[in-house]
């Protein structure tokens, strides 16, 4: 798997976790589970470390996409980009080939991740 793509997936998942940990709905569920969360700043620090490891141009694109769509990396399922549902080129249908390079959807521009 392409290293930058892997970092982008980790970054987006982490962003999702940061948002969720702060959300009222998740807090209610965690309370129901009897769980206590502390040290959320660790997530922010981990996020900053990931961001620093990305090339500036990629990070900038990531932030633009997050701002516009609320996500920047989308899975490819059944040969379709799950951001805009357009088909990706057939030669990229195999997961191992698709994830070998950093690719963006030709239509919506989101980073593509083959699951």
């Amino acid at each position: 798997m392409h290293k930058i793509l892997q970092t982008l997936v980790m970054l987006q998942d982490l962003d999702c976790m940061i948002d969720e940990v702060a959300s009222k709905d998740m807090k209610n569920v965690e309370k129901k589970m009897g769980l206590k969360i502390k040290g959320e700043e660790q997530l922010q620090e981990a996020k900053e470390r990931l961001e620093q490891s990305l090339p500036p141009a990629v990070l900038s694109k990531y932030h633009k996409l997050m701002k516009r769509f609320g996500r920047a990396v989308v899975p490819v399922v059944g040969n379709n980009c799950m951001g805009c549902y357009v088909s990706v080129p057939k030669r990229l249908m195999v997961r191992e080939i698709g994830n070998r390079e950093l690719r963006n959807c030709e239509r919506c521009g989101m980073f593509l991740y083959w699951v």
Binding site: M1, Q6, V9, M10, Q12, D13, L14, C16, M17, E20, V21, D25, M26, V29, K32, M33, G34, L35, K36, I37, K38, G39, E40, Q42, L43, A46, R71, V73, V74, P75, V77, R95, N99, Y113, W114, V115
Partner: protein
């Protein structure tokens, strides 16, 4: 989601009758690797890393010998639940200090709307004393699902 719908989220290939790992990290790694081996996720390391970060905020051991490690990731296509048992128990840092014997790993994609509801229903179910006692005795998926279905 009705309580009775819980059983529809479990399947024989997502059940580990006895974990090999005997540490908290080992359990998370073994369960994440199991998900990849069953083609539910791509890249064990991605999911393990996320679960590890979540555990750093506080154990997902809910007490009474049960833990529910959970996270959202785009590495999974749909809400996936893996149940695993460790009859000898593992120190999972649960608030009640009890060894954890039953693990439910819940992994969902970022925009799955059933994730929080499922977690809530799962907690309600496993907090039932009879079900909890039964879970510790379970040896196979058939026994497990019968227990869940019977109590649901």
């Amino acid at each position: 989601m009705k309580q009775s719908e819980l059983q529809t989220y479990f399947s024989p290939d997502l059940f580990i009758p006895e974990l090999k790992a005997s540490t908290k990290d080992g359990v998370l790694k073994e369960m994440a690797a199991w998900l990849e081996s069953r083609k539910k996720i791509f890249r064990t390391a991605l999911v393990y890393d996320l679960l590890h970060k979540r555990e750093a905020l506080g154990s997902t051991g809910i007490g009474g010998g049960i833990a529910i490690p959970h996270c959202r990731t785009i590495a999974v296509e749909k809400l996936t639940v893996l149940c695993a048992l460790k009859h000898g128990g593992v120190d999972f840092g649960a608030p009640d200090k009890k060894q954890v014997k039953v693990f439910f790993m819940v992994v969902a994609p970022p925009h799955d709307v059933t994730y929080l509801v499922f977690l809530g229903k799962l907690v309600e179910a496993v907090n039932d004393k009879l079900l909890k006692r039964g879970l510790f005795e379970v040896k196979s998926f058939e026994e497990f699902i019968n227990l869940i279905a019977g109590e649901a």
